[in-house]
Each structure stands twice: as C-alpha cells, then as structure tokens.
Point group: C2
Chain length 337, copies 2
C-alpha cells in the first residue's frame, strides 16, 4: 500500500504522466472515459495522492469566483448575468463572494482562494481597497485574476472597464449645456479608480467650459442610506446650493429625489440630476432619470471570456490588457429634456 | 510510508481518534494549537489520508452556500445581507449560487454539493422547481438544508417564510377597500409555493367580499421583460380591463407603469397598483408605489441562524420547523392614498 505512483498508473494505462495527473485533477482537457479509467485503476491499485503536494491544490475545480462589493446595485447584478452566460457555456460553476465594501473581508476571501478552491477569479474591488498585495499573492499561486469595472492599477493583469473619465466628462457637459451654473459631484470613495476617473472627467469638463469649481462641489457620501440622505439634504439647503448634480454611484440617486421632495425643490426646474445607473426603474421615476448607462452585461461577459482564454492555456497565462467598453448617456426629464 | 493511521497519531498525541479526525478536517470544535500539533505530527509521520474515504468529503469547509434564483431582485439582495451578517459573526464564508430560475441549473448546483464543498445550504428554489429529489439527495449526505422564502413542501426540514397567504389577502382587500371592482393578479410561476399562497390569499379576499372573479384575472408572466410588458399591455387594452392590479413579483412592477403610460392610463385614477417588493425606489416612482414589503433581511438572518444551530451539533441535525415572519402593507399613492 502506498507504493503506487502516477508513473506506474501511466505505464499500466499506456498514458502520459501528465495525462494521468490531469485526469486525477479532473481537468477539462481529459475525456470523461479516460478519467473513469484512471480513477478505476487508481482505486484498484490503492493509489494515494500526497495531500500536502501542491498539485492537489491546483486541481481543476471547474469553478470561478466573482468577488464583488455588493449585489444591491443593478450594475453588478447585470454583470453577474453576463459572467454566468459565458461560464454556463463552458460548464463552469460561478461562486459569488461579497465584500460589502470592506477591505478586511476582501482580504479574507482572497486568502481563501490560495487553497485552490477556484480555478480563476473575476474581481471588482471594494471601496476601501487601497493596497493590492492580497490579490498579487493569489495571482502568484498561478490562479488567474481578471479585474472588471473597479480595478487596481499596480498589478499587471487583464482588466475590463468602461470609459469612466469620458462618462464623467459627458455627464458634466450635458448639465452645462442644460444651463447649470454650479454642479455638484457625489461620490462614495476617494480611493476607487472608477470614482477618481469619473471625477477627473467632471473636473475637465468644468475647466473646458471655463466654469469655476469650489472644493465643496465634490461631496463624499458613504454606505449608510440615512447618512447619505442627510449629507445631500444639507448640500441642497445651502445658500449656494447646486443647480446640477452628478450621482456617480447608483445608490445615491434615491437620496437626491427624496431630499428634493422634502425641501420642495423641483427636479429638473430647481436641480437637474444625472446618475450613473442601470436601474430598470429609471424610466418610471418622478421625473424619469437621465443616466449614464454602463455596459454591465457586456463587461461581465467580456471579463469572463478573457478569464476562460487564460484557463484554456496550460500555464493559465493572462495577457496584460485593458478592454474598454463605452457607456452611454440616456437623456430623460431629470435634466430638463 | 502509508502505514500511519489516525489511531497511531491519536496515541502519540494522547488525544481521542475523534479529535484527531476533527483536527485533520479543520473542525471548529478543535483549537488552533491542537490542529497545529496534529498537522505537524501527521506531516512528520508521513500520514496520508485515504482520498476516497467519506470522512474527507465531510471536512468542515467553514462555508455555507446560498442558492437563489437571481440577485436582480431587492428581496434577495437584502436577504443575502441578512445571511452574511450572521455568517460573518460565525467566521463562515458565504457562496452565492444563482439558478436563474432554471430547474436544470439548480439540480447541477445541488449535485456539486455532494462532494462536500460546503457545510450547509440555504435555498430559495427556482420558479421551475416542481420535484425536490435533488435536494433530498444532498440532505441525505448529512448536509443540512434550510429553505427560505421559496420552499418545497415535501421535505422535512427547517423553513423560514413570510405570511404569503395573508399578504395576498391584505393586498386584495386593500384594493377592494379603495373601490376596485376588477382586480388582476400577476404572477410568474404556477409551481412556486409563495406564488400559490399569495394567489390563494387574493382569491379568499375576493370571495369574502363577494366579488366575482374570471379565469382571465390571474395572469401568468415570465422572465423576459419585453414579453411581460406585452402581456400586461394586452391585459390593459381589453374592454373589460382591470381597475386594480396586484404584481406578486417585483420585476413586473416597471412593466405595469410603462404599459399604463403608453396607454395613457393614469395610476391610480384608472388603475390602482400594489406590488410585492422591497425596492428602495418605491417611494420615488411616479406615483409612489403601495407595497407589500417582505422582511427580507430578517428572513435571511433567521434562516442563517437556524442553519448554524444545526452546524453546531455533532450530527448536523435540523429540527423540522417553519418560522413565519410577517410582511407589511405600506400604503402610497399608487392605490389612491
């Protein structure tokens, strides 16, 4: 007992050592019949793998992980559908892990992956993530990591994003065109790549249109709806209140509508609003909402396709690339149209 | 090599065989120090577990699975938050699996769990699920399964639900009180327990109020938004169109608003609407929406607590029980208030 090696199994079956190893790891490169043969002989000859060997940790789990901040956001729920549409074609399971915008949680989840639970990872980082060593450690284990939407810029890997800078610019330019003189930009993070890019686009549009901007025009909100409502209400109560608002995060939208209602400010007459959102209810809000609509489904689909290209290679190699899929402006009554 | 057994390790360490076995399975019942000692000796004595033994498949993964139809529904995203609030306290990971309302997918996912990937399962079944043998098989492997919201009635296990019959009754009674003479009930499934209970409540309210009902008043929609829009528009185009609508599924809400808008029917003047939804935007729709609000977060939290009670027992035993957490009616302008 215990003397059977992969080499012996391979010789008995007239297969290569690599094929037997892959069959034992349930690799998709090996046919079902061959796997059955290998497994049957392994049992018969009492083959026992070494559980401490790294090869076990690299077994093909036929599973990919999607690490997200939350699902109560239409962007992410649509992106998941895009990811799953590709994973299903490939016969892969998708596991969804939520960080709830916590860096500590994201680190704990990534740490979990080192044990080889999944074959590859799609990640959109938390609003708190400012250091990427936890992601680098997993990538160093040979597990491919593809970023989508919210990326880390200091890792050489594949990324699927939308044109956040341009969208921030387009949103601000649209409000300027509609006559806004003082435009506030609402955000929930100072560290996220997407937030910063949208903000830079907004700033550039203001500059190009020779509009002044005060430090108070960029408003940092958080994850608590009540607190966000309070912040936005205070902003709209000011003497120098904005006549245009860009909600760069979907969940800030309802707070703007509610604060305006409570202060008897009319959208779009007193305040014009544009939100980054994929909410299917944008059309039936009072008034209907002008949106920057991100290609959520397409981004999820593309990110998954990039990951599967890597998983199809023997070394799981991921090309360093950035795929940009543009967002679109959908104009409705909330900006006076 | 290969002759070291758990018995030998236990003797060397002066521990019980059960403790060594649990330590090797990374059980939460064993302290970190003991686990380290067991693992160190196992490595030193070249202990090799039998990978075909069922004990390996029962290792404590510190992971629970949540199997859901979709996340693009505010009930499920809030329920997930409730589940994760408890799992985090217990130091457990939560894996989310989506069935996309497909029975075949649900079966494939459950089948995956037989390999011991997770310690316990929380499930809300798909709209297509009419047979529960796939769930019974997993439960028979000793993996506890707790149902929440959408249940199967033919398995003896724990269930956390809301009062769907009563809510259906309350919704219909509210529309009757507001003067509706012809109330349509929109659903997306004929097999789901919750859909049927809501519908039975609606029927009972009509009967109690001596209102006639035609077979056409119960309208079956599906998962495709465009198709649902078409079905609802056709319903509202009829001569004998309803003056009250109960949308028993959140995603049907937008279609009712849009169809009314396109047919220049005013909510609530021409058609009164009440929806089963936890949408944070209900308040800012045009007009604000009357809802049956489910205790989504509480239901997730309770279901997770029930599961962890079972996981805390040596035999994972789950008491057969049904916990009912009531929903609430929130009255707004869409029903003329």
């Amino acid at each position: 007992m215990g003397n059977t090696t992969i080499k012996i199994l391979a010789k008995e079956l007239n297969l290569s050592v690599a094929s037997v190893s892959k069959a034992l790891r349930d690799s998709h490169e090996i046919s079902h019949e061959t796997k059955q043969k290998v497994l049957a002989l392994a049992r018969k000859m009492n083959y026992v793998p070494n559980p401490y060997a790294s090869s076990l940790r690299r077994r093909v789990s036929k599973t990919i992980a999607v690490v997200l901040p939350e699902v109560a956001d239409s962007f992410f729920s649509l992106a998941i559908n895009g990811i799953e549409s590709i994973a299903e074609e490939r016969g892969y399971h998708v596991l969804i892990y939520l960080t709830h915008e916590s860096f500590a949680r994201e680190k704990a989840i990534l740490n979990e992956f080192k044990s080889g639970r999944v074959d590859g990872i799609l990640i959109s980082v938390s609003g708190e993530t400012c250091d990427s060593s936890h992601i680098k450690e997993v990538a160093a284990e040979g597990i491919p990591v593809v970023f989508f939407d919210r990326i880390c810029e200091d890792i050489e890997t594949a990324r699927v994003v939308t044109d956040d800078f341009e969208s921030g610019y387009v949103a601000a330019a649209h409000l300027i065109e509609k006559g806004c003189k003082k435009i506030a930009f609402l955000s929930t993070s100072t560290s996220l790549s997407i937030s910063n890019n949208r903000m830079q686009g907004y700033k550039k549009a203001l500059k190009d249109h020779k509009m002044k901007m005060s430090g108070h025009d960029i408003v940092l909100c958080g994850n608590d709806p009540d607190e966000n409502y309070r912040i936005i209400k205070n902003l709209l109560k000011k003497k120098q209140r904005p006549d245009g608002i860009i909600a760069s995060v979907e969940k800030l939208t309802a707070a703007v509508y509610l604060a305006c209602k409570d202060l008897t400010l009319t959208i779009p007459k007193n305040v014009k609003l544009i939100s980054f959102t994929n909410l299917p209810t944008a059309l039936i809000l009072n008034p209907p909402l002008t949106t920057i609509t991100q290609p959520a489904f397409e981004m999820g689909k593309t990110a998954a396709a990039v990951l599967f290209t890597a998983l199809g290679k023997s070394n799981n190699e991921l090309k360093e690339e950035t795929v940009v899929i543009p967002s679109t402006l959908t104009v409705r009554s909330s900006t006076g149209c």
